[in-house]
Every structure is written in structure tokens, then in C-alpha cells.
């Protein structure tokens, strides 16, 4: 089986899907001639033409808004937002329009669209090229929010997102783009269902819930602790909306202890929802407080590496939290 990076997987999957389904189109800034600032659409314009792989004006609200229109008229648009930070000017179109179209029309109109949103930090992107925006969107009924962490899931979830009749925010962690490699079956159009978490590492003492880059930090922390006799279970959430409450609760019922790791700001981050769910639904199984480890409550991740490093929950901080829980 070929081994690919995440960014290569995104690109190849888009390529296959566009060849398979001619209603798919891509639009965004620099996605055409340049193939995207991360290369996710490299070569696609040459193959599928300027209308199906379209460089747009610099205007996120109309990128999403026009994609909504295209979806209403029978296409399956895949807008790319260059950096997650820049989806905020399109917030009204995403929240008031895409997410509410089906509901407000009593199920008669719908918006099948996949918004590709590169997010996350650790890449010296500073305040405006590092942000986590999942909490904003996973709070919005009518939107699906997926956060694949490895190449296999990236292909499988991207296909599911494309097959979905409703708007899906497809969040790709920038730092993992080239860092993470994995096997991706060729030829087989397999899918990974939206809304299913995956236990990436089984354990018995503490459950750790993460996604994106934090998944890898958590896995490494768990590895380090195994040597010290602490058995941490690590769950890759993969999808935040819908959230796989069953898998989460099952894990907590087994270990009795939960740590949620995310790089977004702590307060009001989506980890709060996971903690609240556990606190309500698994109370009787809990042997320790539900703990969260997250980015601090500062506007965003600074540029200077001294500050950027300090911002991110690293392996050591995660290991400390797990140990704390294990010893509780």
C-alpha cells in the first residue's frame, strides 16, 4: 500500500473524486494556477479547467456564499479557505446561511458542500495563521465538523464529506500536513463514517481525548508513560459534530478518568463540551475530576518561538496531566 503524507492524500483524493464526479468543483484563493498555498490542489486546474478549479477574488464571504449557491443549483462545491483564521469574514455565510438552509426551508433546500479549512499551530504562523476555529463551528447545528488526523482517515472522511448532503467543515491540521505519513489503500474508494471516533491506543488507567496535532502529542505522552507503568487510552475524536458520545463514554466507563487535550483556548473550547458530556453521562464511573489541557486564554498563538512553544500543550505537559489523573 502506498505511504503518503496528509497533504498528498488530500490532493490525490480531490483528484480522484473530481475525475469520478463532474459536479465537484473547487474554488478559493490561489487554488488554480498555483495549486493552493499548501499544494492541496496542485495540478488540478490543468486537468479540470479554470471553471472547476477556480481562483476567486480575495473575499471569503463570497467564496462560501457562491459555493452555497452552486450547491443549491446542483453542484458539489469544495471551497478552500486558505487559512482557518480567514473564515471569520465568512462567518455569517457559514452560520446563518449554509448551516440553516435545510432547517429554515423545512427540509426542502440543502447545501451539500465541503469547506476545506487548514487550521492549527506550531508552524510559526503567529496570531493569524495558527488558529483553532472548531469551537465556533461545532456549536452550530446544521454543520458537520470533521478533524481527521492521519492519511487513511483523511481520504475516507473526505469522501464521506463529499457524499454528505449537508455542509461539512473539513479541518486539516497544517502542522500534520507533511509530518504525518501513513498507508492509504489505492483504487478502493473506501469511506470513513462521519461521527465515529477511534481508539488509537488502548489503555486502562486514563482516557485521553484529542484530535489534530494534539493526538500525536498525546500518543507520545502515552508511550512515554507506558514505560512508567501508566496505561493511557488515547481516542482520536475524528469528528466533533456529530460527536461520538458512545465511544467517549465507553472509554471513560472503562478507565474512570478523562483528560481532554486541545490546542484551542481553554475557555469555551470544544473540549468543554466533551468534559460536560462526560460529567453528565459518566458521573458514576468517574474516579477523578474530568480534566482539560488546552491552549491558554490568550487571543492566539504568538510568533516568537519562545511564546509559541509556551502556548502549545506539549508531550511533557500532557504526560504530567495523565500522571496526575492516574495517581488521583
Amino acid at each position: 500500500m502506498p505511504v503518503k503524507t496528509i497533504i498528498q492524500t488530500v490532493r490525490d483524493t480531490l483528484h480522484e473524486e473530481m475525475a469520478r464526479d463532474e459536479t465537484i468543483m473547487i474554488l478559493g484563493e490561489d487554488v488554480g494556477l498555483a495549486g493552493g498555498v499548501f499544494g492541496a490542489t496542485k495540478g488540478l486546474q490543468a486537468e479540470f479547467g479554470e471553471m472547476r478549479v477556480m481562483d476567486t477574488p480575495l473575499a471569503e464571504s463570497v467564496i462560501i456564499g457562491a459555493a452555497i449557491g452552486a450547491a443549491l443549483n446542483g453542484l458539489k462545491p469544495i471551497p478552500e479557505i486558505q487559512f482557518a483564521d480567514f473564515i471569520l469574514p465568512a462567518f455569517d455565510q457559514v452560520v446563518s446561511e449554509a448551516a440553516r438552509m435545510r432547517y429554515r426551508s423545512n427540509g426542502t433546500w440543502n447545501v451539500p458542500m465541503v469547506m476545506r479549512v487548514p487550521w492549527g499551530g506550531g508552524i510559526h504562523g503567529a496570531l493569524y495563521h495558527s488558529q483553532s476555529v472548531e469551537a465556533f463551528f461545532a456549536h452550530v447545528p446544521g454543520l458537520k465538523v470533521v478533524v481527521p488526523s492521519d492519511p487513511y482517515d483523511t481520504a475516507g472522511l473526505l469522501r464521506s464529506a463529499i457524499d454528505d448532503p449537508d455542509p461539512v467543515m473539513f479541518m486539516e491540521h497544517k502542522k500534520t500536513y507533511r509530518l504525518v505519513k501513513g498507508e492509504v489503500p489505492d483504487g478502493d474508494r473506501y469511506t470513513v463514517p462521519i461521527g465515529k471516533a477511534e481508539v488509537k491506543r488502548e489503555g486502562t488507567d486514563v482516557s485521553v481525548f484529542a484530535y489534530g496535532l494534539m493526538l500525536y502529542n498525546s500518543l507520545q505522552a502515552a508511550d512515554a508513560l507506558a514505560a512508567q507503568g501508566v496505561s493511557a487510552e488515547v481516542v482520536d475524536l475524528r469528528s466533533l459534530q456529530p460527536l461520538d458520545r458512545d465511544t467517549i463514554l465507553e472509554s471513560v466507563r472503562k478507565t474512570g478518568k478523562a483528560l481532554i487535550v486541545y490546542e484551542d483556548n481553554l475557555t469555551g473550547g470544544f473540549g468543554a463540551e466533551i468534559a460536560a458530556t462526560i460529567a453528565q453521562e459518566a458521573f458514576d464511573s468517574l474516579d477523578a475530576p474530568v480534566r482539560r489541557l488546552a491552549g491558554p486564554d490568550v487571543p492566539a498563538m504568538p510568533y516568537a518561538h519562545t511564546l509559541e512553544d509556551q502556548f502549545l500543550p506539549d508531550i511533557e505537559k500532557i504526560a504530567t496531566e495523565i500522571r496526575l489523573l492516574a495517581e488521583y
Binding site: 463570497v62 443549483n73 454528505d164
Partner: protein, 344 residues
């Protein structure tokens, strides 16, 4: 077409202006009927509100001419309509019925726009390509551009017509939409019903150009000023724009100079921001009055026909009211339906 406000004089000439536009007498009668029906429905809505029977009305009175004149240039069920909340007459022209509108007013389950979920005035009907609208101003404009872009990609000759007030042209979504449409040469027609006010805010506080149409200069396609109370003037501009769009020549911005002769909504007290006399003046120049005069001058509207129309309209309005009043409300447990596609 008129070019300044001063040109907006009541058409009194007896000359045949419709035949050169390709409009038959039947067309004119249909347009007229639709306007009268819209007005009567609209008036009934206010009565129902004053009677305490419905919580909210938002109205199109005074703007029927701009609406029917433009919408009539499109192909129902084939082209796309993106009306805003004053567009009763657009909705009717596109194929929605009096019952449809009354069902929405009463917030009944059968309302085809939203099943009673949205406030009245949020038109929508999938079967008629009337796209569901929301409340935030101007958000429908990018949708229209995207619909037109999809038509280009699919090689279809669909045109999208999108409606909004003059205040919507202050918003980013207006600019981003028109700019993108200009770049794409997309088959879309932007129709602004300039009724001079955004709730209480007069147009001179909304923009510092004299005409909304002037804004088209920044987008590289024509901006056309029409006398929005003259159905034929609007139709002429709309027909030209739709033909242009369908021929691949790109978008047009049409400004319809008009006036709303009722308060912004049933929650509004218009005495805070305008004089009765101004409203009365505009009522005299109303689009229905103007068309009636024209049709009479052309010998198309006889007294008998007028009576007949009034009677049919009343019947339709009564029927719609009764039907909607009796229709059931949405069941409480449908609250959680249609968030996502139902799982099969």
C-alpha cells in the same frame, strides 16, 4: 429609461409601449392581476395583524411594479428567483400562490417556504426555484452569483435574479457578490428596489452616490436606473438584462426607484422618521394606479374586467386566508426535524 428622480413622471402618453417589448395583452393582464392580488393580500395581512390574528407583517405595498416588471422577464420554474422580504409580487410571479403566502403568515405547517419556521416574508419554494431567504440583509446576493456560476459550469442557460433594498448595497456581501459576478460574467441580474429608506434611515445616509445604479461602475457591467413604479420601464430593463445574461454577456444591476407606502413592518412607527404628506404623494404615483391608467388608455382594462379582477382577487384572498387560518400549526415534536438529512 429614466435617469434621475425628476424623470419619474406619471406616464400619460397613450402610445403603445408594450408591443415593442414583446408583451401581449394577456401578459399585461397577468401582470396587473398579480399586482392587484399582491396588494390585496398585503392589505389583508395588515388587517389580520391589527385583529391580533397574526403576530407580524412585513409588506411590499408600493413596490409591486418593480417586482412584477422584473420577475416577469424570467422563466418560472427554470430560472432562479431570490426574493427579499418585500417581494410578495415576485413570489407570486414565480409561481407561489396566495395560499402559500398566507400559510407563511399564519406560521402553519403546510407553509412551503419554511413550514412556519421563519417569519412571514421569507419566501422560498423549491419546486418553483424560489430560493429560501434568511433575515440577514444581502446574504442572498452571493447565493445568486453561485447559482449563476453553476449554470455556467453545467452549460445551462439558467439565469438568477436576486432582489434587495437599497440599504443592502451598503453591505460587504453586495460588493463581494457583484465583484465576483463581474469577473465571472455570470448570468445573474441584481435588482434593487430603492424605496428610499432602510427602516428609518434615508438613502442619503446610506450612500453618497445619487443612484444605486452608479455602484455598477465599480464592477464593470451596466447599472440601469428604472422608474420602479412603471411596470413597463422595469420590464424593459429586466428583459434586456436577462437576455444579456443568457447570452453570456454578464450581469446587470437594475435600480428600481420606488417607495414603500406602509411602515417598515407591523412593529414600526413611521411617524418617527417621515411625514404623512410624503407618503401620500407617493401613493398617488403608485405602480398599480400607473398601470391601471395605462391599461385603460390602451383599452385593455374595461370596467367589467376591472370588476372581474377585483372579484377574483377577493375570492383568492378570502380562500387563502380561510385556508391558512384553519390549517394546523407544526407539531411541537417536529422542532428537531431537518437539521440534517434524515438518516435512511
Amino acid at each position: 429609461m429614466a435617469t434621475t428622480d425628476q424623470d419619474l413622471t406619471t406616464a400619460t402618453s397613450m402610445e403603445d409601449r408594450h408591443t415593442p417589448l414583446g408583451l401581449s395583452e394577456e401578459d399585461l393582464k397577468r401582470m396587473y392581476y398579480t399586482m392587484v392580488l399582491a396588494r390585496s393580500l398585503d392589505e389583508r395581512m395588515w388587517i389580520l395583524n391589527r385583529q391580533g390574528k397574526v403576530a407580524f407583517v412585513i409588506s411590499g405595498q408600493g413596490q409591486e411594479g418593480a417586482q412584477v416588471g422584473s420577475a416577469y422577464a424570467l422563466r418560472p420554474d427554470k430560472d432562479f428567483f431570490l426574493p427579499y422580504y418585500r417581494d410578495l409580487t415576485v413570489a407570486l410571479t414565480a409561481g407561489m400562490t396566495a395560499r402559500d403566502l398566507m400559510l407563511a403568515l399564519f406560521a402553519k405547517a403546510e407553509d412551503p417556504a419554511s413550514g412556519g419556521r421563519q417569519m412571514p416574508g421569507h419566501y422560498g419554494h423549491r419546486a418553483h426555484n424560489v430560493v429560501s431567504g434568511s433575515s440577514p440583509i444581502a446574504t442572498q446576493i452571493p447565493h445568486a452569483v453561485g447559482i449563476a456560476m453553476a449554470a455556467q459550469i453545467k452549460g445551462e442557460d439558467t439565469v438568477a435574479a436576486v432582489y434587495f433594498g437599497e440599504a443592502a448595497t451598503s453591505k460587504g456581501d453586495f460588493h463581494e457578490g457583484l465583484n465576483f459576478a463581474g469577473v465571472l460574467k455570470a448570468p445573474v441580474v441584481f435588482i434593487c428596489e430603492n424605496n428610499r429608506y432602510a427602516i428609518s434611515v434615508p438613502e442619503k445616509k446610506q450612500m453618497s452616490v445619487q443612484n444605486v445604479a452608479d455602484r455598477a461602475l465599480g464592477y464593470g457591467f451596466p447599472g440601469v436606473i428604472t422608474d420602479g413604479n412603471d411596470v413597463l420601464d422595469v420590464y424593459k430593463a429586466a428583459k434586456t438584462a436577462v437576455d444579456r445574461a443568457r447570452a453570456g454577456e454578464g450581469p446587470t444591476l437594475i435600480e428600481c426607484k420606488t417607495y414603500r407606502i406602509v411602515p417598515h413592518s407591523s412593529d414600526d412607527d413611521e411617524s418617527r422618521y417621515r411625514q404623512k404628506v410624503e407618503v401620500e404623494e407617493w401613493k398617488q404615483k403608485g405602480p398599480i394606479e400607473r398601470m391601471r391608467q395605462y391599461l385603460r388608455g390602451q383599452g385593455i382594462l374595461t370596467e367589467d374586467l376591472e370588476k372581474n379582477i377585483q372579484a377574483r382577487v377577493m375570492e383568492e384572498v378570502n380562500d387563502a386566508t380561510e385556508y391558512a387560518d384553519k390549517a394546523p400549526y407544526p407539531e411541537p415534536d417536529t422542532l428537531t426535524k431537518h437539521v440534517f438529512a434524515e438518516r435512511s
